[in-house]
């Protein structure tokens, strides 16, 4: 499981490389260390609704190769958000992911915020799958898109999340 830290003022969440030392060394007397929580030890019920609807839509996708890709991504997102919650990070309220199947059998996942939209476009060829982000004037009229194969899914999601997180 990846480890994260949240900057106190900005609420931005940073990824901690396993090569880095633990910034908050703790002496464990009882139970597990806060930084070493494992996804299978606790379920994140508060955020299960985050991906449920999109999960069901992707389960019905005509092309299950793409549907499986979507569910793998949703699992990772739920795991990451769950680990944020377990670490006590300030996340605000997060809207659920929506999923849509396009005419060409690709699946789009979209996360809709008041002033921004973040999404993933999943293609039968995973090399062509990508992400996108757009915001209105309130969040600076940002627009960006890219492939998931470059930076890595988890780091890409973390970057997108920090942009749209209402608490950040």
């Amino acid at each position: 499981m990846m480890q994260y830290v949240q900057e106190t003022d900005s609420k931005i969440i940073f990824y901690l490389s396993s090569a880095q030392p633990d910034p908050f060394p703790a002496t464990v007397e009882y139970g597990t260390r806060p930084s070493a929580l494992h996804k299978y030890f606790f379920s994140p019920p508060k955020y299960s609704s985050l991906v449920r609807e999109a999960w069901e839509t992707s389960s019905k996708a005509r092309n299950q190769k793409v549907g499986k890709q979507a569910r793998t991504l949703l699992s990772l997102i739920q795991e990451v958000i769950g680990s944020f919650e377990l670490s006590g990070f300030d996340l605000g309220s997060l809207p659920p992911f929506k999923a849509f199947e396009a005419e060409d059998e690709s699946v789009y996942l979209e996360w809709i915020f008041e002033h921004a939209r973040v999404g993933f476009a999943l293609d039968p060829n995973p090399e062509q799958s990508g992400w996108f982000l757009v915001s209105d004037r309130t969040l600076g009229n940002a627009n960006a898109a890219g492939l998931l194969s470059g930076l890595g899914v988890e780091r890409t999601f973390l970057w997108l999340f920090n942009f749209v997180n209402p608490k950040a």
Partner: protein, 114 residues
């Protein structure tokens, strides 16, 4: 965004999204009253209004670089008809970006009176 995903026109090899231009006050009522061959309304969920300036803003995104265009394509039964057109080579993530941008740019959705 799913309402704004373009469909591939196999004849022209372009991604296409059918629209109606709001030339006058009658355009919205005309669009809402459109019916399919079976008599049911074509746009049961209403129509979305998007300012053309917002489309022009999307056209200037660095990822789009003018590959999004629009035209007027008057039909025998629809004087307002036109299309948003997208180059076939535009990648899937950028198509998603455009669809999400159009959804975000929607100034309002107008519903038909029951």
């Amino acid at each position: 965004m799913n309402l704004f995903l373009f469909e591939l026109d196999k004849e022209t090899n372009e991604w296409k999204q059918s629209i109606n231009w709001e030339d006058d006050e009658g355009a919205v009522g005309f669009t809402l009253a459109r019916k399919k061959d079976d008599g049911s309304f074509s746009y049961k969920c209403g129509v979305a209004r998007i300012p053309r300036a917002e489309i022009d803003k999307i056209r200037n995104f660095p990822q789009v670089e003018g590959r999004l265009t629009y035209n007027r394509d008057v039909l025998d039964d629809n004087q307002y008809h036109g299309n948003l057109l997208l180059d076939q080579a535009v990648t899937k993530p950028v198509r998603g970006l455009i669809a999400s941008s159009l959804a975000l740019a929607c100034s309002c959705i107008i519903y038909r009176n029951q």
